[in-house]
C-alpha cells in the first residue's frame, strides 16, 4: 500500500459510481470486497461523498422495487452538487485530456474528477483509466480477493489524488498560448 502522508481528516474521497454498484452487487464476494474498502476509508477518518451526477449513472434503467431500494441506498451518501464551477472544471479537464489524446473518458467521469479537484479531495474508483496520470496520482491502492467457490480473483481499487499544480500549470500555458 502507498501513502503520501497528507492529512486525511476531513478530506473527501468522491466515490465513483462503479464502487457503489459493486457494493450492491449480486455477487456477494464482489460486494464484500468493495464494502470492505469503503469501511476502511471511513475508519481512516475520510468523509465519503459522491457527485450528484452519480445519481443518474446509478439509477438509470432501474424500475419498481429495485429502483426504490437503489434510491434508498444512494441517499445514504453525502451528495455533492453539480455546480457551475464543477462543470467549468470538467470542461477544462476535457480540454487538457484532448491535448493528451485522452478522448475515451466520459463526461460523468470528468464531473466526478472535477468535484474531487474542487474539494482538494480524492477519487475512489476501480476504473483506473478514467482518472489518468499525470492529472491524477495514486494516493493509496488495495488489491482485494474475491473468493468464489472454485477460484479466487482480485479486485484492484485505488484512491487517486488530483495533481492540481500540474493542471494549473497546463491551464496557465494554454491561456498564454491563446492570449
Amino acid at each position: 500500500m502507498e501513502h503520501d502522508n497528507s492529512p486525511q481528516q476531513s478530506r473527501y474521497p468522491i466515490v465513483d459510481t462503479n464502487i457503489l454498484i459493486y457494493t450492491g452487487s449480486k455477487q456477494e464476494a464482489l460486494a464484500t470486497a468493495a464494502i470492505t474498502f469503503l469501511d476502511e476509508q471511513a475508519s481512516h477518518g475520510y468523509r465519503l461523498a459522491i457527485s450528484e451526477f452519480t445519481t443518474y449513472e446509478y439509477l438509470k434503467r432501474l424500475w419498481g422495487k429495485k429502483a426504490e431500494k437503489a434510491e434508498e441506498a444512494i441517499s445514504t451518501y453525502e451528495r455533492k452538487a453539480v455546480t457551475r464551477e464543477v462543470l467549468e472544471t470538467a470542461s477544462i479537464l476535457d480540454g487538457l485530456y484532448y491535448d493528451e489524446g485522452l478522448t475515451n473518458i466520459s463526461d460523468g467521469d470528468k464531473i466526478i474528477a472535477a468535484t474531487a479537484i474542487l474539494e482538494d479531495g480524492l477519487i475512489l474508483t476501480a476504473n483506473h483509466k478514467d482518472f489518468p496520470n499525470p492529472f491524477f496520482i495514486t494516493h493509496e491502492w488495495r488489491v482485494l480477493p474475491i473468493k468464489n467457490p472454485r477460484y479466487t480473483q482480485h479486485l484492484y481499487l485505488a484512491l487517486y489524488k488530483p495533481n492540481t499544480q500540474l493542471i494549473n500549470l497546463k491551464v496557465s500555458d494554454k491561456e498564454k498560448s491563446f492570449a
Binding site: 457494493t23 450492491g24 464494502i35 468523509r47 445514504t76 451528495r79 455546480t83 476504473n127 499544480q165 491551464v171
Partner: protein, 67 residues
C-alpha cells in the same frame, strides 16, 4: 488578481482564481449532511440480496485471476 500556478490550493477557471478545499462544492438539496458508513453497508446488503446489480465482474478491474 496575480495568480501562482504552483499553488495547489487554488484553481484557475476561465480568467479567475478560486480557492479550493473541503466544502468548496456544496451538498445537494436534500442530501444527508454526512455519509454514515453503517447505513451505506446496510443498504448495500439489501441491494445485494435483491440482485439489483446483477453485473459481471469487469475484467479490466480484476487482476491475477487464478482459476
Amino acid at each position: 488578481m496575480e495568480t501562482n500556478p504552483q499553488n495547489k490550493h487554488q484553481l484557475h477557471l476561465y480568467g479567475r482564481t478560486i480557492d479550493i478545499g473541503p466544502g468548496t462544492v456544496p451538498i445537494s438539496l436534500g442530501s444527508v449532511s454526512a455519509t454514515s458508513i453503517q447505513d451505506v453497508i446496510e443498504k448495500a446488503r439489501e441491494l445485494s440480496k435483491l440482485g439489483v446489480f446483477d453485473i459481471d465482474q469487469p475484467e479490466q478491474n480484476i487482476i491475477n485471476g487464478a482459476r
